[in-house]
């Protein structure tokens, strides 16, 4: 029986419950090191901007030393490996040679599934960056591969590790807000990551645009907090490439309205607000903090372990997801964000793209020159 299976037989239910109860992220990543018994022979696969700016910084914070950095570009792999005295390789075939048993995948989105499947089949534990994959079918295959080999599959939906967002989860789970009536999120800013290549701008490599790249974080939170969402309308400005701006209207199972707007070109308010029948909560996404409470939400107490005011940097969130994944491997439990959880947002995004309409922006059309949107 695979240890990390999402489908647990009845006889192991009590054990699974025990393990699941421990599948909570630690709340204290403060430049401390991972205990030796939890350390694995690590590799980082994919050495682009995310690895350079976030994963490496998180590994350093946790005082972890990967053995191997893998990238098609030896130069990029070397740039990161040299900070740890690690080896480099251009393919994942080298993992066995270096005794790697756990790998963080930070390749372009379109390669997540291919790389993860190879590793999971070989029994290598995997932490794959968000999005888990670019289609529901790929997610299913990854989950099945992890089930079959017993490897731990965790997904880097790092926002779930934020203390403030966990506080919101507790607030909603407790029913304090009452029935959720309206959710509105508008976030984004002119894109500015120092990309190493143009891969993010290719649909076959990135799997899409701003929705799957940045929207995946927020939509994952909404699914986690509110349950399944039904896509009512989705429109974006993809004219044959990948979208930079998109607008989603959806509904919760109980009929609450959800409006989500994501942008790579505009300074958006970067704010999320959830309004229920008995109260509301507003969140500054720029700082990851709660900036508005009203009604019943003002007196909600989530207990001593959850702080709604603790600010967390994105490096800390990366560190938290790595720490949780390693702890899950060591304790042979499910990670905090397992494959079957992270697959939900991929399926939602897939539905959006399937139902896509062109976002008609008046200035795009010139009199006498009507154009039809491609793709």
């Amino acid at each position: 029986m695979p240890l990390f299976s999402a489908h647990i037989p009845t006889w192991s239910f009590s054990l699974f419950s025990l393990l699941q109860s421990r599948a909570q992220p630690t709340n204290s990543v403060r430049s401390r090191s991972i205990p030796a018994h939890r350390q694995q022979n690590l590799a980082v696969v994919g050495c682009g901007a995310v690895a350079e700016l976030s994963i490496v910084a998180a590994l350093e914070q946790l005082k972890l030393k990967p053995r191997l950095f893998v990238d098609r570009s030896e130069q990029q792999a070397e740039a990161l490996a040299s900070r740890f005295g690690a080896a480099i390789a251009t393919t994942t075939a080298a993992l066995t040679e270096h005794g790697v048993n756990a790998a963080i995948i930070a390749t372009p989105n379109g390669a997540h599934a291919t790389v993860a499947l190879d590793l999971l089949d070989a029994g290598v534990h995997v932490l794959v960056e968000k999005p888990m994959a670019v289609s529901g079918a790929e997610c299913d295959a990854m989950i099945a591969a992890a089930d079959a080999s017993g490897a731990c599959l965790a997904v880097g939906q790092m926002y779930r590790f934020s203390p403030a967002y966990r506080w919101v989860k507790a607030l909603i789970d407790a029913g304090t807000l009452g029935e959720i009536r309206h959710v509105e999120v508008r976030t984004g800013a002119p894109y500015g990551w120092p990309l190493k290549s143009g891969g993010l701008w290719r649909r076959d490599v990135a799997g899409g645009g701003v929705l799957i790249d940045a929207g995946v974080h927020i939509l994952d939170l909404l699914l986690w907090w509110l349950g399944d969402l039904c896509v009512e309308d989705y429109r974006d400005d993809n004219y044959g490439g990948v979208e930079a701006d998109c607008l989603l209207t959806a509904s919760t199972v109980s009929g609450g309205e959800v409006i989500a707007e994501f942008s790579r070109t505009r300074e958006m308010p970067r704010r999320l607000r959830i309004e229920g029948a008995r109260g509301a909560v507003g969140i500054s996404l720029a700082g990851g903090t709660i900036d508005e409470l009203s009604g019943a939400a003002t007196s909600f107490d989530a207990g001593p372990r959850l702080s709604r005011t603790a600010a967390t940097s994105h490096i800390q969130l990366f560190a938290s997801e790595i720490e949780d994944w390693l702890a899950a491997i060591a304790a042979r439990r499910q990670p905090f964000v397992p494959g079957h959880e992270a697959a939900r947002v991929v399926r939602l995004i897939e539905t959006c793209y399937r139902q896509r309409r062109e976002w008609e922006l008046p200035w795009m059309k010139v009199p006498g020159a009507p154009h039809g949107a491609a793709a």
Binding site: S31, R186, G192, G198, G241, R264, A374
Partner: protein, 385 residues
């Protein structure tokens, strides 16, 4: 595809655009790829800036103006090259860039090179009409650089037979125009935007799609080689009318009119005012630095700070203006000259030789820009600015 037969020749052409991640180059890429079925190749120096361009069915090619090999590879196979890039980091790159590009165009037999210059080459002009025969009297470093580039390109045309055309757009506004739409909008949202009271300057405004029309025409027109063309709109709104239009969309106060002497007096103490504002709103200072070219080294320093200090900086970064004096945006010397301008660009030459007919009188261009502003600034309250 287009209903405009003037541009139908682009349907089977390959066009290289430099500066396509920017405002004018980006809109040229949109129009060519979406309306006219051209194969568009975009020279990209920084992939991180290509989000808008990446919405389009265009070919992204990495290259640097200063790297002849990358430019040659990008130019190879192109019928038309539109050079809309300008390197603000180092002027030497611009001269090297136009040289490398011109050489590549000659080497690969490009049919037409269109170089985007600027009205600024004429400097501060007396009241009345001016045209391409007016004297170059550049006032800013940018304008001086553009004069040099025009002259350098002229040598290639005269001595080497390069089929190049120079366009001199005036004040190009519209969606994603940083200097003439987004920046005034942000200033109107954040504080008071000051214009000189007297005289009420004229804006040689041109809506971006008219500049695109001119660029595409310049890529085809038979008698245009070696010539330079002013490209402006069909009318001359006042600067006040332009910014009032923006303010109306935003639902904020319009520009404040002050006498020239008062502007000069206030400019003398502008540094002190900015300092007072920063003390009250350190978040704004941090946000400005985060968007500047100092971002990378500052981020490296930030990462070395203890967690507590990092959290403090993040709080400031996400904070909203908390009081203090309302920012007053005074025109510097360059803007003062522009805002008091009474010279009017003539576009007769472009009309006659290129067949250029601007489609956007100010009223229409500003109406289109208003649609953009509503979309681009969904949080239009002053505090959020």
């Amino acid at each position: 595809m287009t209903g405009d037969s003037r541009f139908s020749a682009y349907a089977d052409r390959t066009v290289l655009i430099t500066g396509a991640t920017g405002f004018i180059g980006g809109r040229i890429a949109e129009r060519l790829a979406l309306d006219h079925g051209a194969h568009v190749r975009a020279l990209v120096r920084s992939f991180g800036r290509a989000a808008r361009l990446a919405r389009l069915p265009v070919e992204l090619t990495y290259g640097e103006l200063g790297d002849p090999a990358s430019l040659s590879a990008a130019v190879k196979g192109c019928d038309v090259v539109i050079h809309a890039a300008f390197d603000w980091r180092a002027d030497a790159n611009n001269l090297a860039g136009i040289t490398n590009l011109a050489e590549a165009c000659l080497a690969h037999g490009v049919r037409r090179m269109v170089h985007m210059s600027t009205m600024a080459v004429y400097g501060t002009l007396p009241p009345g009409d001016f045209d391409e025969a007016s004297l170059d009297t550049p006032f800013t470093a940018y304008a001086k650089s553009k004069v040099t580039l025009e002259q350098h390109l002229g040598t290639f045309v005269g001595e080497r037979g390069l089929p190049a055309v120079v366009l001199q757009p005036t004040i190009v506004y519209g969606p994603f125009s940083l200097p003439w739409t987004d920046q005034p909008v942000r200033r109107l949202l954040a504080g008071k935007l000051v214009l000189p009271e007297d005289p009420q300057g004229l804006c040689n405004a041109v809506y971006v799609d008219d500049v695109v029309d001119a660029s595409l025409l310049a890529g085809l027109a038979t008698d245009a080689i070696g010539e330079r063309f002013l490209i402006s709109g069909p009318d001359w709104p006042t600067w006040q009318a332009m910014f009032e239009s923006y303010a109306q969309v935003l639902g904020v106060d319009g520009p404040v009119l002050l006498p020239a002497a008062e502007i000069r007096r206030r400019n003398r103490t502008a540094g002190l005012t900015a300092l007072r504002h920063s003390i009250h709103n350190p978040g704004e200072l941090i946000r400005t630095l985060a968007k500047s070219t100092l971002r990378a080294p500052l981020m490296a320093l930030y990462r070395r700070l203890p967690q507590g200090k990092q959290a403090g900086i993040r709080r400031l970064y996400t904070s909203r203006p908390s009081g203090g004096p309302v920012p007053v945006f005074l025109p510097n010397a360059q803007l003062f000259n522009l805002y008091t301008n009474l010279a009017r660009a003539r576009i007769d030459k472009a009309r006659q030789v290129l067949g250029y007919t601007p489609r956007f009188p100010a009223e229409r261009g500003l109406a289109m820009t208003a649609e953009y502003i509503r979309w681009a600034y969904p949080c239009r309250d002053k505090a959020a600015a």
